[in-house]
């Protein structure tokens, strides 16, 4: 699904990613942990194609294609979804409108028929019910005035609707209360399938109790310094990053 080879990237002229190697196969869930400022979000932005995140070396192959050659919207339409660490506000655009526009843009890209207002409404109601999101939130402008937790839940809702092949979750658990964490994790788990993969960035092992990863990696100073199975997360929780990286 995704093959990252010796990826180097800089932001604002400063090298942040210093040679990342990572392969994600279909159906796998990889967790990335690591200290603040290590480059975790940077990796997610490089993969989704954000402006200003300049790749200076290495390669990324996604479904056999050169990912770095694709525009951000092309990547999105090809199934890459990034749940933002800090979801962005778009004043005046109702969440429902935003979702419908996005969904139909992706369907159009794939040569599928666009959904009409009724079909969409039915779908979005069903998904928001699963995620315990009130209809009223769909009428409000995207992320405007949403609480921290509501923003994160809204990201999961978008993801449930768009049904991506590769989910990039950047600290989706931060800011969620315990109940909301379960609901959001359920949302992700519902999407789990042998064809679908995920890269889950988190600081807390607790999330990984709900979204059980196949692999856990430690990203520090722009490099993956350690990889292991889910027990690595427990070890991290106990010992902290300094010990692990040194080990």
């Amino acid at each position: 699904m995704l093959e990252i080879k010796d990826l180097h990237a800089e932001v604002g002229g400063k090298e942040i990613l210093k040679g990342i190697n990572l392969t994600i196969n279909p159906g796998e869930i990889h967790a990335i942990m690591g200290p603040n400022g290590a480059g975790k979000s940077t990796l997610s932005y490089v993969l989704s194609g954000r402006d200003g995140y300049e790749v200076t070396g290495g390669s990324v192959t996604y479904k056999g294609q050169d990912l770095l050659d694709m525009d951000p919207d092309e990547r999105a339409c090809s199934g890459i979804f990034l749940a933002f660490q800090y979801p962005v506000e778009i004043p005046g655009v109702a969440s429902a409108t935003f979702l419908k526009t996005a969904l139909n843009a992706q369907r159009k890209f794939r040569g599928e028929e666009e959904l009409d207002a009724m079909e969409f409404l039915k779908l979005v109601r069903e998904k928001s019910k699963e995620l315990d999101i009130k209809d009223d939130m769909l009428k409000r402008a995207v992320n405007v005035g949403f609480s921290g937790g509501e923003k994160k839940r809204n990201e999961v809702l978008q993801m449930s609707l768009l049904e991506p092949d590769l989910m990039l979750l950047d600290e989706t658990d931060s800011g969620l209360d315990i109940d909301a964490l379960k609901v959001a994790a359920d949302g992700v788990n519902r999407l789990r399938s042998p064809e679908r993969s995920a890269l889950v960035i988190t600081h807390y092992q607790r999330l990984l109790d709900y979204i059980v990863p196949d692999f856990v990696h430690v990203l520090a100073d722009g490099k993956i310094v350690k990889s292991g199975d889910k027990s690595l997360a427990l070890e991290l929780e106990e010992k902290g990053y300094t010990d692990i990286s040194a080990a």
Partner: protein, 489 residues
């Protein structure tokens, strides 16, 4: 840009030359180029106007000669030579496109994005001989116009070309024409009063709620109202009308200068909702060939509890100079101004409103959304005046500017004149930029860069778009996206 003594003399000498000799030849379909008293007489004669109207036009013309073209607006354009304009039926231009093959492909692309049928595209693009065919084919004008008319007649509503109203309802026209915008008002208004050739006339009788939205769309090109359009709408006591002007498709016109006047008269407990989508050709990306649009629009809320809403979406023209205004004379009268002005490439817009509060407890709301992209310059200019007797008057103004890129500009020029201590005036202004973050967020969900921009800008304009009649709003939303094409990347 003063009208020099030389020009006046030149004009006089020309008039001298043509005196009578030319006017008597009213069989002619066209008038010679330039402006003179004789041309004014010719237009009036062609329209078989009564003496009072001719006199009024002549007074306007003579007054215009003494006026100077205003230069206070923040717009730049080459000096207009008023003697180099045809004021009545310009001779057919030879290089009119013969078919759509000869029309600017970019313009055609816009038409197809708006989903405009081919026949209609021909009309809009000014293809030779298209107008007559298309009017029948597209609007099915006969049937539409008749069913339309029958319903309106039943209610006693008068909706016709103003030239027709001069013949059929001279007393109404004489009573109200120039009563809101006198010919002495401003340079372009005076010019329009002297030479207007047509426009719309609407009268809603007492107690009537106009059964449908009145739209000039049915009349475009049918009447070729051209560059000096004159509109007069009167809402009698307890009546209501919603009037739609313009259309979303970019219209080409050989006439570069457009100077329209719109007068609204609102009597006791009556309401007029006036919505405009202005999308005249803005010129190419170098600004060549665009329309100069200098409009005077004003509403007089004469009656108690009378109400006027101006809603406008301005995306076209190379230069726009336009300030729809409300004179709130009747006690408790209400004036509203909702505006979206989008400027891209080299377009310039200086637009805003004037709210003149005269009566007690009058209130006004102004919501202005200015969007600038490319190298465009957009200015909001608004005046709120609270007269001495306007006890308890209130105004609330929100003026938001959105910038796309860093080569454009947005300017806000509020003028406040308060002569009444009990009056309340609130003014809020913001300037923001479309952020890279917002664009990326949308793109990450699958929208192209342009779709993302359109979505964000439509969000910014939402409060105003909501004020438009439903079907107009949908078109206007599409238009917002199209107007901004080429502004990203």
């Amino acid at each position: 840009m003063a009208v020099s003594q030389e020009t006046i003399e030149q004009v006089n000498s020309v008039s001298e030359k043509y005196k009578y000799g030319f006017v008597s030849d009213i069989e002619s379909e066209t008038a010679p180029i330039g402006l003179s008293e004789d041309i004014v007489r010719f237009i009036s004669a062609k329209k078989e106007e009564p003496e009072w109207l001719l006199e009024w036009r002549l007074k306007a013309y003579r007054y215009w000669l003494t006026m100077e073209e205003p230069d206070w607006a923040k717009v730049n354009y080459p000096k207009i030579d008023y003697q180099d304009i045809y004021y009545y039926s310009a001779p057919k231009v030879k290089d009119k496109p013969k078919s759509l093959d000869e029309v600017d492909p970019e313009l055609l692309e816009v038409y197809s994005k708006l989903g405009i049928p081919l026949k209609e595209q021909e009309v809009l693009a000014g293809v030779e001989g298209a107008a007559n065919v298309a009017v029948d084919a597209v609007f099915d004008s006969v049937s539409v116009a008749t069913t339309f008319r029958e319903r309106l007649e039943k209610e006693g509503v008068i909706f016709c070309p103003i030239s027709e109203a001069v013949q059929t309802h001279p007393e109404l026209v004489q009573k109200y024409l120039g009563s809101v915008v006198p010919y002495t008002d401003n340079f372009f208004g005076a010019l329009n009063s002297a030479v207007f050739t047509d426009g719309s006339f609407v009268y809603i009788p007492k107690g009537v709620r106009c059964p449908m939205e009145l739209s000039t769309y049915f009349r475009i090109n049918a009447a070729q109202t051209g560059q000096f359009e004159r509109t007069l709408i009167i809402a009698d006591d307890e009546s209501y009308v919603s009037y739609l002007e313009g259309c979303t498709a970019p219209m080409r016109d050989e006439n570069q200068l457009h100077a329209a006047v719109v007068e609204l008269v609102v009597l006791d407990n009556a309401e007029i909702k006036y919505s405009t989508v202005q999308n005249w050709y803005p010129g190419d990306e170098n600004g060549v060939g665009g329309i100069y649009n200098f409009v005077t629009k004003r509403a007089a809320c004469r009656g108690v509890n009378s109400k006027v809403s101006w809603t406008q979406v301005e995306t076209g023209s190379a230069v726009t100079w336009k300030y729809p205004s409300c004179i709130l004379q009747g006690d408790n009268s209400v004036g509203e101004f909702y505006s979206i002005a989008i400027t891209n490439n080299l377009q310039q817009a200086d637009t805003g409103t004037k709210m003149i509060h005269l009566g007690k407890n009058t209130s006004s709301t102004i919501i202005s959304k200015g969007i600038s992209a490319g190298k465009a310059q957009s200015t909001y200019r608004g005046l709120v005046r609270m007269g001495r007797k306007a006890d308890g008057a209130r105004n609330h103004t929100v003026c938001d500017s959105l910038l796309i890129g860093d080569k454009c500009g947005a300017h806000t020029v509020p003028y406040i004149e308060n002569q009444n201590r009990s009056a309340k005036i609130e003014h809020e202004a913001t300037t923001s930029k479309v952020s890279e973050e917002q664009l990326f967020y949308c793109q990450q969900r699958g929208l192209s860069e342009e779709e993302s921009m359109a979505l964000i800008v439509n969000g910014f304009c939402k409060e105003v778009l909501q004020k438009l009649p439903m079907e107009f709003a949908v078109e206007a939303q599409k238009l917002v996206g199209i107007s901004l094409e080429g502004s990203v990347g």
